[in-house]
């Protein structure tokens, strides 16, 4: 099916304005939205199935051949991320419906769908400026979602988030502009091709643009020292939105893998992989700071935000290692951390609601309804998140560590990853102990029990952790072939530019 590549982008767009026409009928919106998500799930699955053949599926928008027109490129990586986004979004949406979050302000469903439009667009586009546009789409949607429902702290976090991202967008344009000014093109594959012929005297400027672009993606990916937007934004967002945001940092990482990995790939000569060592270095700093942040958090949601930061930092390190093994490991860890982080944000909200007045603050609270169930789920998620065995976080980390041994800085990398892991374990043990063991009737009234559907959403996302362990073999086989495809820049260039020259 020729349009399959475009459907993951078009479906949420059409869904978005269909939802706009439903007015204020919340039930209709929910049903329509769930139907749309189901459709998207099918489309994403089919897209992944197509990608599994190992071919690149191109979609020439407007029937203009690349590099002139905008092209969507579906390969294993983009297909995987689209499906991942859909799964995460489904969990977040169900939770939002279960907790009536969608009812707390206008346009939740529209913004949600358009957020997916932006995300899937960013994952599929093969054009750097179009990537900018999709970044803006997903950002503006995320602004709306983040502020959904209102509240003082949320507003403040939103303000910071918006301003920082506006600075980021400005930097993005500077970088894209420079790259266009030097390379004369916007198509990523074409840029990569032109990098091969870049005269030596032009390398300095292109390198500057490349690192500037790294800063831009670094903001999204929450790389030190650019992550300051993250803790408050994630901690203050409505839970369902925070869960969906688990994919937001991954967009930054994806962009680095896609854009830098291609443009500054092997063919770039002296500029090949100029970004890698910075990713590695800054990833390590980020991880250390994130672990300290987990430790220093004053509330559960803040802590989860820092845990997300830590997982992103781990990914930065893995990507910075820049070997096939490390990249494959990073993809495994990416899927794991996205779904688990989503689950954890939802769970934090469940806990926070149940603790009533205490919310998610680290002070002893009342005995929660269903304390055994919630406590067990918390423990499992904490284990997965901090990278303890036997859940997926551990195996992802081990693969990354294994890959790190080939690097010159292996001692530092291993030390940072393990020590920060320890700090997080200690912190999470303290948190669990406080929330569940210290809970007592004397600490006030508990809130109402959470709806089964809400808990089900958490559990559904959480199943990723054991599944990724049990099916580690086929899944790592997939990440390996994905990485192989990813590292074959030449094939990507040839595939994207294969039609260049024929007029439509």
């Amino acid at each position: 099916m020729m349009h399959l590549t475009a459907l993951p982008v078009l479906l949420p767009l059409i869904g978005g304005f269909l939802l706009l026409f439903t007015g204020r009928n919340i039930q209709l919106q929910r049903q329509l939205h769930l139907a749309l998500m189901l459709g998207l799930l099918i489309v994403s699955g089919l897209a992944l199935q197509t990608a599994l053949t190992g071919q690149y599926s191109l979609y020439q928008l407007g029937n203009w051949q690349p590099p002139f027109g905008i092209v969507l490129v579906l390969d294993r990586l983009s297909a995987m991320l689209v499906l991942l986004t859909t799964l995460l979004a489904l969990g977040a949406l169900v939770y939002a419906i279960a907790t009536d979050t969608d009812h707390q302000g206008p346009h939740f469903h529209v913004l949600f769908q358009l957020q997916l439009f932006g995300l899937n667009g960013a994952f599929l586009t093969g054009d750097l400026f179009n990537l900018f546009v999709f970044f803006e789409v997903l950002l503006l949607a995320s602004y709306g979602l983040l502020l959904h429902g209102g509240g003082r702290l949320r507003t403040r976090a939103g303000l910071h988030y918006v301003v920082i991202n506006l600075i980021g967008s400005t930097l993005f344009l500077f970088a894209v502009g420079t790259l266009y000014g030097m390379l004369g093109t916007l198509n990523i594959a074409d840029m990569a091709q032109r990098m091969a012929q870049l005269p030596a005297e032009d390398q300095g400027v292109v390198a500057a643009a490349g690192l500037l672009l790294l800063v831009v993606f670094g903001i999204k990916a929450a790389m030190f020292p650019l992550y300051l937007w993250l803790p408050a934004a994630y901690a203050q967002a409505p839970a369902a939105v925070a869960a969906l945001f688990a994919i937001m940092t991954k967009v930054g990482l994806y962009a680095i893998i896609r854009v830098h990995g291609t443009v500054f790939g092997e063919q770039a000569g002296a500029l090949a992989y100029i970004h890698s060592q910075w990713l590695l270095l800054l990833g390590m700093v980020t991880l250390a700071l994130a672990a300290l942040g987990v430790m220093a958090s004053r509330g559960l949601r803040e802590q989860v935000a820092y845990l997300v930061l830590a997982s992103v930092a781990t990914l930065l390190i893995a990507i910075g290692l820049n070997t096939a093994e490390a990249l494959a490991a990073s993809l495994y860890y990416l899927v794991h951390s996205t779904l688990i982080a989503g689950a954890m944000f939802l769970l934090a909200d469940i806990i926070s609601r149940s603790r009533a007045a205490m919310q998610d603050q680290f002070i002893p609270g009342p005995v929660l309804p269903n304390i055994i169930l919630i406590g067990s789920v918390f423990m499992l998620i904490a284990i997965a998140m901090t990278g303890m065995p036997p859940l997926s976080g551990f195996f992802g980390k081990v693969m990354i560590l294994h890959a790190a041994l080939a690097h010159d800085w292996y001692a530092a990398i291993v030390a940072v990853i393990l020590v920060s892991g320890l700090l997080m374990i200690i912190s999470m043990a303290r948190t669990g102990s406080l929330l569940f063991y210290k809970a007592h009737e004397s600490h006030g009234e508990a809130g109402p029990a959470s709806k089964p559907l809400a808990v089900a959403a958490v559990l559904a996302l959480l199943t990723a952790a054991p599944l990724l362990v049990v099916f580690a073999q086929p899944f790592t086989a997939f990440t390996e072939t994905t990485t192989a495809q990813l590292l074959n820049t030449q094939a990507y260039i040839e595939a994207v530019l294969s039609t260049a020259g024929d007029l439509p």
């Binding site: 767009l13 304005f17 706009l20 500057a208 291993v414 303290r430």
Partner: protein
């Protein structure tokens, strides 16, 4: 696939499957979970036993499956002698513990939870000892940390239980991570994580430059788990656990996991000086320290805990000797210690259970209340003290012998036998204390309960273990010889050295040492009050827990300090970092390449107009920055910047841009004015002058960097793809305005995204506005009343007059867009401005009454139309957004073009109008409501 090729994983995993069953069973009956746990343990044992013949035949059974080849991880199990011994210990003692615990737990304790945890722990331990793959071993290793956390904190309402559990988790967790690092390095060196390969590569590992790091990391794991000095302090605090847990974890299993690993990796790591010093040193220190502390503890379980430490030190020291015979002694003592210490813990549990206290200063003369228990305790304690006829004596003798042997090898090792004897003396002393202070020594002092014998079945496990102590002590080779032999061979991975364990070895140095230790032990116990006093004085200084707590709180403080210092919650701080990093990134990127900054492209000459425009631009920009505190002024000056930018676009051949910029400029001013109404008119002066200078500095730096960057590009030639657009604009896109054709056709997808952004802004603002309340300022910034003429009539009349004219212009700009500067965007903005002018001049009510469009719908339809043009193409079998155009001829009208891109542009137009008007009018309504509220209040 036969049973014997899959049973090992089942042995380890069965308890995990059993755990939820046990928890679930408790729902039906309290005891059902105990039965489940017992049956699962027996089942596991039954699964294991058929394979026991392999080790006894000298074979190693390996069962493995691929898992994550990338990380060298296989799902692989191994059964050799060592594994068998430990698996048996875990299962057999585990079974006894299950029986014991069923009676120990009170009605208030949740049985389901306990047995579920216990089974998970058992599975983890089995996993450790049965693993063939080191990573997998580590998985189970960490699982023991987690499950023991759950077990230790079982009585979660008790603070000491929570803290003890967390400390145990922190220490053993840390060790586990070190172990992971060590294992990874081993894998790096050997090229495999499978024990078969690793154990065969001992020489390779020892010769490798990474040997020392590997050793240190592995030992960190071992020492933390086995509570060796200096990580010993967590163990006593873990005694807050229910006694069955202590009996299981801290005698036979968890603390033995470290010892197991020493035995396991013995062929790979032992034999070097580093090994001897590190392993031996830690063992010796722990041995002495533990023995001493055990004597001075008044808590029954405390005594046992430190005694355990001491015995683990003993075993460690034996491994440190690095000889085959020492290994024999070590493994033998592992068996012995497991039996007598488990029984002693159970006894302690019985006493605690029946009397309500464990304080030996209160417990006295229990003999007459529980004689049976007393006898059991005495035998087990004698074994601990190393009294002949009991198993403890035998392994202690072997240990003395090894200590003596070791002392020959180098200079200061003479100290080893001496210290070892001293430790043994303390061991005798605390063993006596355990018996004398509890069962004799006069009458008990105000016990919470009246003691009596425990239920029969609570004693049966102890009976069995005590019998084992005796049997082994009397006929060691018969009872323990075979399993010891295979275990040693499994550990050494070579043939077992010839050994013979007998009660009587003749008069030799070890026997003399035993005698001295006995005598000295009695004397020490007799003089115990002196030691207690001494200890009291030293107590404060050597508290491992205090050190740990201090360290943890320091780390916490450090974490908080760093986090709050970097994540200040300050936007300025965050922005400064980002901008600084961006500048730095550019500079570094450039500096790392040895390329010239500027190229050699011929530059355009400067003309007067441009010079003037740029001068104006700079003045206005700087003025905005300087006068920003006077907000209205800054708004005016920024308007000038926008105007000049637009002029610049015209000057440099970009009329479309100029038109867009001009329109946006005006809308922006209105927008900012609407908002400014609610903000203070003057920003307060900033008190922090250094910050101003710093920001000024970074601003100049950023500006300079951007200038240089721009110049670096502008001074070079490039080969853009734009020629394609110019060539294909008319034939392919049907329009002569290339910019517009790019927007609606070549890159229509960008434009689609862009109108979505605009729509989102509108919707987002609409959502944000709901419930937003702001007080309207009653007076203007200089304190005057506002004018009372809301809609000056002259403005009203003329603006209304202008409305159709502006719409006409909008249509004009729209229609020509495809061929000449203009298009949907600009037309949309003009139409918006026309509407906004009406709102401005006539007021919201008046205008809204006459404008009956819901802007939501306008946006929706705009998007719909834009998307539909793309979807129609899809239906015709072309990619999304493929355009089509044709020329029609109508009479009178003549030839004209019809293009699908125009439809797309209509969509753009509608979204722009809808979003812009919605945004501004929403804002306007805010003031409207605010004023309205105020008027109501005045009434």
């Amino acid at each position: 696939m036969s049973f014997l090729s899959v049973n090992l994983p089942l042995v380890a995993l069965l308890p995990f499957f059993g755990a939820p069953l046990a928890a679930f069973a408790a729902r039906y009956h309290r005891l059902a979970s105990a039965w489940t746990a017992g049956l699962v343990t027996i089942l596991s044992l039954l699964f294991l036993l058929p394979s026991a013949r392999f080790p006894f035949n000298g074979d190693t059974l390996i069962q493995s499956w691929d898992w994550i080849p990338a990380a060298g991880l296989e799902f692989a199990f191994r059964l050799d002698g060592l594994a068998l011994l430990f698996a048996l210990l875990i299962l057999v003692i585990g079974l006894l513990i299950v029986i014991y615990a069923r009676y120990y737990l009170s009605d208030r304790d949740s049985m389901g939870r306990f047995f579920a945890y216990l089974l998970m722990f058992m599975g983890s331990m089995l996993g450790i000892v049965l693993s063939e793959n080191l990573i997998q071993l580590l998985v189970f290793w960490e699982l023991t940390s987690l499950t023991s956390f759950l077990l230790i904190s079982y009585w979660q309402h008790r603070q000491d239980a929570r803290q003890g559990a967390r400390m145990a988790l922190a220490i053993t967790g840390a060790g586990g991570l070190a172990l992971l690092a060590g294992i990874l390095l081993i894998g790096h060196v050997v090229g495999s994580f499978n024990l078969t390969d690793v154990l065969a590569a001992g020489d390779e590992i020892r010769a490798h430059s990474l040997y020392l790091p590997i050793l240190l990391l592995i030992l960190l794991g071992v020492f933390t788990k086995s509570a060796q000095f200096p990580f010993h302090f967590w163990l006593p605090h873990a005694m807050a656990a229910p006694t069955p847990v202590s009996a299981y974890l801290h005698s036979a299993t968890m603390v033995k996991a470290g010892i197991f690993l020493l035995a396991r990796l013995f062929p790979a790591l032992s034999g070097t000086t580093e090994w001897m010093w590190l392993v031996g040193g830690a063992g010796l220190l722990t041995l002495i320290l533990g023995a001493y502390t055990a004597l001075v503890k008044h808590d029954l379980k405390g005594l046992l805990a430190y005694s355990t430490l001491s015995h683990l030190g003993l075993i460690t020291l034996l491994f440190g000797f690095s000889t085959p015979m020492a290994t024999v002694a070590a493994i033998f003592h592992i068996i012995n210690h497991a039996t007598f210490k488990a029984s002693l813990f159970m006894v302690a549990g019985i006493i605690d259970h029946e009397t309500g206290t464990r304080d030996m200063r209160r417990l006295n003369g229990l003999l007459k209340y529980m004689p049976h228990t007393a006898v059991l305790a005495m035998i087990a304690a004698a074994a601990m003290a190393g009294v002949p006829l009991l198993n403890g004596f035998l392994s202690k003798e072997m240990f003395f012998e090894q200590a003596v042997l070791a002392s020959d090898t180098s200079m200061i090792t003479w100290a080893i036998p001496v210290l070892v004897t001293l430790a043994a003396a303390f061991s005798v002393a605390y063993s006596i204390r355990f018996i004398h202070d509890v069962f004799f020594n006069g009458e008990a002092k105000d016990l919470p309960k009246t003691p009596h014998e425990p239920p029969r079945f609570m004693k049966i496990p102890v009976d069995l273990l005590v019998v084992l102590c005796l049997v082994v002590g009397i006929a060691p080779m018969l009872v323990a010889g075979p399993i010891l032999a295979v275990a040693v061979s499994g550990s050494l991975q070579t043939a077992t050295p010839d050994f013979s364990i007998a009660l009587w070895h003749g008069f030799n140095l070890p026997l003399l040492m035993s005698v001295i230790a006995m005598a000295a032990g009695v004397w020490l116990y007799w003089q115990r009050q002196i030691i207690y006093r001494l200890h009291e004085q030293l107590n404060e200084r050597f508290d491992g827990k205090a050190v740990f707590d201090r360290l943890l709180s320091q780390i916490n403080g450090f974490a908080a300090m760093i986090t709050r210092r970097f994540d200040k919650g300050s936007l300025q701080h965050a922005a400064l970092w980002i901008i600084g990093t961006a500048v730095l990134a550019g500079v570094i990127g450039f500096a790392n390449q040895s390329a010239p900054l500027f190229g050699e492209r011929a530059l355009l000459p400067i003309d007067a107009i441009s010079l003037m425009l740029v001068t104006g631009l700079i003045i206005a920009s700087v003025l905005t920055a300087v006068l920003h505190r006077q907000r209205l002024v800054a708004l005016i000056t920024i308007g000038v910047v926008g105007l000049i930018v637009a002029l610049g676009f015209v000057k440099f051949s970009a009329p479309d841009l100029a038109l867009t910029q001009l329109s946006i400029e005006i809308v922006t001013i209105v927008l900012l004015l609407l908002a400014l109404f609610f903000l203070p008119q003057l920003a307060p002066a900033e008190s922090d002058k250094t910050r101003l200078w710093r920001d000024g500095g970074i601003a100049l730096l950023a500006g300079g960097a951007v200038s240089v960057l721009a110049m670096a590009v502008l001074s070079r030639d490039f080969m853009p793809i734009s020629g394609f657009f110019i060539e294909n604009s008319v034939p392919g896109g049907g329009g002569t305005n290339v910019v517009n054709v790019i927007l609606v056709d070549f890159r229509g997808f960008d434009t689609l995204g862009e109108i979505v952004v605009l729509a989102l802004a509108g919707l987002g603002i609409f959502a944000m506005m709901r419930g937003l309340k702001l007080p309207a300022p009653k007076l203007d910034f200089s304190g005057r009343d506002w004018s009372n003429d809301p809609h000056p009539p002259i403005m009203q009349t003329l603006t209304r007059l202008l409305f159709p004219l502006m719409l006409m212009v909008a249509v004009f700009i729209f229609l020509r867009g495809h061929n000449l500067p203009g298009g949907g965007f600009i037309a949309g903005l003009i139409a918006s401005v026309a509407l906004i002018a009406q709102y401005l001049a006539n007021g919201i009510d008046w205008t809204s009454d006459r404008l009956r469009f819901d802007m939501h719908k306008v946006i929706g339809f705009g998007l719909l139309i834009a998307v539909m043009t793309g979807v129609v193409a899809m239906m015709l079998g072309y990619p999304f957004l493929t355009s089509a155009f044709t020329y029609l001829y109508w009479p009178v009208v003549g030839k004209f073009e019809v293009a699908s891109a125009i439809a797309f542009d209509i969509g753009v137009f509608l979204v722009v109008v809808g979003a812009t008007v919605m945004i501004l009018v929403q804002l306007g309504k805010l003031t409207h409501e605010a004023n309205h509220r105020q008027q109501q209040e005045q009434k």
